[in-house]
Symmetry: none
Subunit: 206 residues, 4 copies
């Protein structure tokens, strides 16, 4: 995505395509973050982007595909950031703190994206009415957090506890930190993250 066309000159087509998709996704993020998933109609997203309704239908198979694209982009950005920060950290306690602090760090600059992510997770349904992103979607997050806790238990850094419950609680603690901050912008996000890191460190240590 960053450098694939130094030599040839015919990538402009897909470049335009890509730019439009990105523009539409960005508009969708802002609208969803502002008025919520349910009110975020294609018409509203298009109007916010200053384009015609049909453009979205042209570039995306439907509303669902657009929403999934939003999720993928936002999600990938978070994961990339956090993974980069955690690289090289070796102790379970260090990984635990780094995870919480780096997610918060990334949040600070991407409030709308995370708000939109939550909305889509909560509201997007398949044709049968079942959630598109349910607990199964969180499963990946839970697994990666569980790896941290398991490591700590095996190295003896952490006490015995149910790693799944800890992972679920950890995940929701971060979500609620974000939600609280979105609603009250004056709230000190970094301080909240440090408190959270302390909280979980104490909760797991021997």
């Amino acid at each position: 995505m960053r450098s694939e066309n130094e030599s040839g000159g015919q990538t402009s087509r897909s470049f335009i395509e890509e730019a439009r998709r990105a523009q539409i996704v960005a508009s969708a993020v802002e609208v969803i973050a502002d008025v919520g998933f349910v009110q975020a109609s294609l018409a509203r997203i298009a109007k916010h982007a200053g384009i015609s309704k049909g453009v979205i239908s042209y570039h995306f198979a439907g509303k669902d595909e657009l929403m999934e694209e939003v999720v993928n982009r936002v999600y990938t950005a978070i994961a990339d950031h956090v993974a980069a920060r955690m690289e090289g950290v070796e102790t379970a306690t260090g990984l635990l703190r780094t995870h919480i602090l780096s997610v918060a760090e990334h949040m600070r600059g991407h409030r709308a994206q995370l708000r939109a992510l939550g909305e889509i997770f909560y509201n997007l349904r398949d044709s049968e009415g079942k959630p598109r992103y349910g607990v199964d979607t969180n499963e990946e997050i839970y697994r990666s957090l569980e790896r941290i806790y398991q490591l700590g238990q095996s190295t003896g850094e952490f006490r015995p506890f149910d790693i799944r419950v800890m992972a679920v609680t950890h995940s929701s603690a971060i979500d609620s930190m974000f939600t609280y901050w979105v609603a009250r912008p004056e709230h000190d996000l970094d301080a909240h993250a440090v408190e959270l890191a302390d909280l979980f460190e104490r909760a797991v240590k021997k």
Copy 2:
């Protein structure tokens, strides 16, 4: 709502009225818990209750009022249960554990209510698209949890920490326990609650 006035023996009106409202609220809870807020149209709720669509419009000013009534009733039931369990408990640690365990206890028999509550909290908006129940709605919960933590800090049971962050995290930990359990009914709710009580007890103790 409880008035037995108006001349004499004609209290049957408001009794019928009350019964109808309760019936409609109960139907709404079940439908929302089953298919989610967005799909819970008045038609669906009416059909589920075996009554005409118009009845709802007759007894409630609109969909929003119905939803607020659902929230009030469910919310009150939880608060009553938890308050009863906490009565007589004196130590902060005891209150902390009792809160978590008694909420879980009540949850077990009222899965649908809590599911509906979450849906409404997340989805109900005012005419401008702003959430009807946002952080301000949780404020009351946060305050009551903060009282527990403040007590613990003043008695010396708890270490120093930001009581607001702790309250927010505590609240979300309970919510996520419920969400996880709703999605995976085989999950052991009571064990989860005990783990959570241990987690917070360790997180706050000196």
Copy 3:
């Protein structure tokens, strides 16, 4: 449908319902006959009937159900008329002539209905794009015509021939008579029908 409420007095509801359905079907017939199936949108049918678009959605599950109702009503009317005329006729030749002539007779007063019927037969598709009324729908007609030809062959009135080919041709000859007449109202329908009766009588006789 004709007499079920001599005593009670609460059938007015379904009476209104029935009247509306009949009104909508009638409007659909006229619009389809005028502008064709494809152009016959629900909006157009509603406007022609002087009602709101939503009324149709209220009384019919969807466009398909409306179209099927049109087919059922028109089809039944034709079949009833022809069956009445053929009652008591005993020779195959008599039945053959009566069928052609009585269909034409009924046509004369129901031009629009038959035009609409043809449009729907040709255009209505299921969700996979397959014709809703295809050859299988005509099968019933073919079978009833075959019975006439079979009778004639078994009594010795008719020569040997392929009764399926004769039935298919017979059916299409009537359809084309109607189509021609619809396009050219000055065309003498009754004379056409007599010519057709002569044609088939000569084609099958020994």
Copy 4:
């Protein structure tokens, strides 16, 4: 369409042009035959041909012109074939049989074309919703069939009858033979044609 003019060696333009038009028409025929007129969008036809949507708009004034071109090409092919077979036949009875049999003969190898032709005849409308190809389009066919019947009556081969009715019926008999065969590919088309030839021969003979 055949012009080799315009200075000298630059006829490749109109050659390419012609090839493209033929390619698009062929694709249109296949798509219409497969999914019907209504579902045969320009996008679908373009995709089937492996070209861009815009190409069609470039080579044809609009969808209507494309459809008319399809009709012209298919129609001409049939007429050419039948005319060739009828050349040299002298008796009216011979012409009658030859017409029916040669149309069927041509049909056998061009099922899709005829299916498409029927779809377009039935569905193509002008801006007012009136059929583009109605009875007036068939007029040419009727006239040519009438010439056969008139010949037979004037030579004394045929009995007196209304030649227009006979022509209309003859035309529809062939159409229905095709329709039946398209829907039931196992049907014996040639046998059907022979039955039809017998049927009309007997219907007209003295």
